[in-house]
């Protein structure tokens, strides 16, 4: 398992695209928003937490199809399925690798991009915390979507259609934590709910992803 994680991380570093593309996309989305809604700082301050969450979510979505597709195309998944690793473990490690290469950089970049959106001073910490708690759920749910659409020709678009509705609860609670944090309100309740969704998804969804992958491999 550790070997699989180490290999995925090494591949992400070598191939370059892993970290860079998602981050660049996040940056561009954040930069485009003021062009769309106008440069008024008070407005930007108000929408900053939500925009950061949407940007992170879309950047995450962009890289989902790479989680399993590459290993599927070169036959690695077939070989991994015959290796002494449980399929649930394989999909969990794949999701973890995706989080480390895509989710974590987004979490760390969000406060920096918050400056561009004139995020309220109290918001930086909670944007960081909410993304740190919420993005693992995005990776795990995304892995499920990637497993469902593996090997389909028009998989990319279908993947978005399947995954985006599943992202709704995570987005709502995550953005709520960030927004309340920025406005100096109590954040404990949404944070607990966000954590619940994140841990629940991490604990249960790998079973669904593994079942789906076994069906797709046969």
């Amino acid at each position: 398992m550790m070997a699989l994680l180490a290999r995925d991380l090494k591949l992400a570093v070598r191939a370059g695209g892993g970290f860079g593309l998602g981050l660049a996309f996040f940056l561009i989305v954040t930069v485009l928003v003021p062009f769309g809604v106008g440069p008024e700082t008070a407005l930007l301050t108000r929408i900053a937490p939500g925009v950061l969450w949407i940007g992170a979510l879309l950047a995450c979505l962009l890289s989902l199809d790479r989680i399993l597709a590459l290993d599927w195309e070169d036959g690695t998944l077939d070989l991994l399925a015959t290796a002494p690793l449980p399929m649930e473990g394989i999909v969990s490690v794949k999701a973890l690798a995706h989080w480390i290469t895509t989710g974590l950089p987004l979490v760390l970049a969000a406060p920096v991009l918050g400056v561009l959106l004139n995020l309220a001073p109290g918001g930086y910490l909670w944007v960081l915390v909410s993304l740190a708690v919420g993005t693992p759920a995005l990776s795990v749910i995304g892995t499920f979507g990637a497993a469902l659409t593996i090997g389909l020709k028009r998989g990319g678009l279908l993947l978005s259609l399947l995954v985006l509705p599943l992202y709704v609860p995570t987005l709502i609670f995550g953005a709520e934590v960030a927004r309340r944090g920025a406005e100096g309100l109590e954040v404990a309740t949404p944070l607990l709910l966000l954590g619940g969704i994140s841990f629940g998804a991490m604990a249960l969804l790998p079973f669904a992803s593994a079942a789906v992958l076994r069906i797709n491999l046969r």
Partner: protein
């Protein structure tokens, strides 16, 4: 560990292709599957490897002692030859890769990225992967594709060495490896009689 297949029935795309397939593969033995294209060699091997479920029949002795190599080698072009092997060794809980590199004449290529190898070299690396798994039963699907005569010789020697150590090999191949000790099983004899596909039966 004896690999035993009894009265196996398998299907491809929901359609029965082979039935009544039975054989046993003892340690030190090799079995070569033959038959025209489409007879079900790949499907049989994937079923033995556990990637696909059999429609009927039983397979015992595979599972934890089996290493599978299919049409694709599962190599990462951005990793070096040595790193690719180290990864697969680690997946199977091992670390030794020197013997495999030597057996397939990959020592000099060890530091090269797998993406820069020729097709034949990649195949050799894919086969070297079998040695690092430490598994006793090799299940090989067309292992000699894109190998030149010398490389086929290397492969045959590796298989012979594996058999000598008490391993066994089940493979589908058309070319003559010069493995006199290998038994040959022609799958044409087990072709399934035409019938409805498994999933379709309920609708006919």
């Amino acid at each position: 560990m004896v690999l035993r297949v009894s009265n196996l029935e398998i299907s491809r795309g929901g359609r029965a292709v082979l039935e009544g397939v039975s054989f046993a593969l003892a340690p030190g033995a090799a079995l070569i599957l033959r038959g025209p294209n489409g007879v079900g060699k790949t499907t049989l091997l994937r079923t033995v490897a556990g990637l696909q479920e059999a429609e009927a029949g039983e397979i015992t002795g595979a599972g934890e002692s089996m290493a599978y190599a299919g049409h694709s080698d599962g190599l990462k072009s951005m990793l070096t030859v040595a790193e690719n092997l180290q990864f697969w060794a680690a997946v199977f809980g091992r670390s030794e890769i020197e013997a495999a590199l030597a057996a397939f004449d990959l020592r000099e290529l060890a530091g090269r990225l797998a993406g820069s190898l020729s097709a034949g070299q990649k195949r050799r690396l894919g086969l070297a992967r079998l040695m690092v798994t430490g598994r006793a039963i090799w299940v090989l699907d067309e292992p000699t594709v894109s190998l030149d005569a010398a490389s086929v010789g290397l492969f045959a020697a590796a298989v012979r060495g594996h058999l000598a150590q008490g391993g066994s090999a089940l493979m589908a191949t058309h070319i003559d490896l010069g493995l006199e000790e290998a038994a040959v099983l022609d799958l044409s004899a087990f072709r399934a009689r035409p019938r409805a596909a498994q999933g379709d039966e309920a609708f006919l």
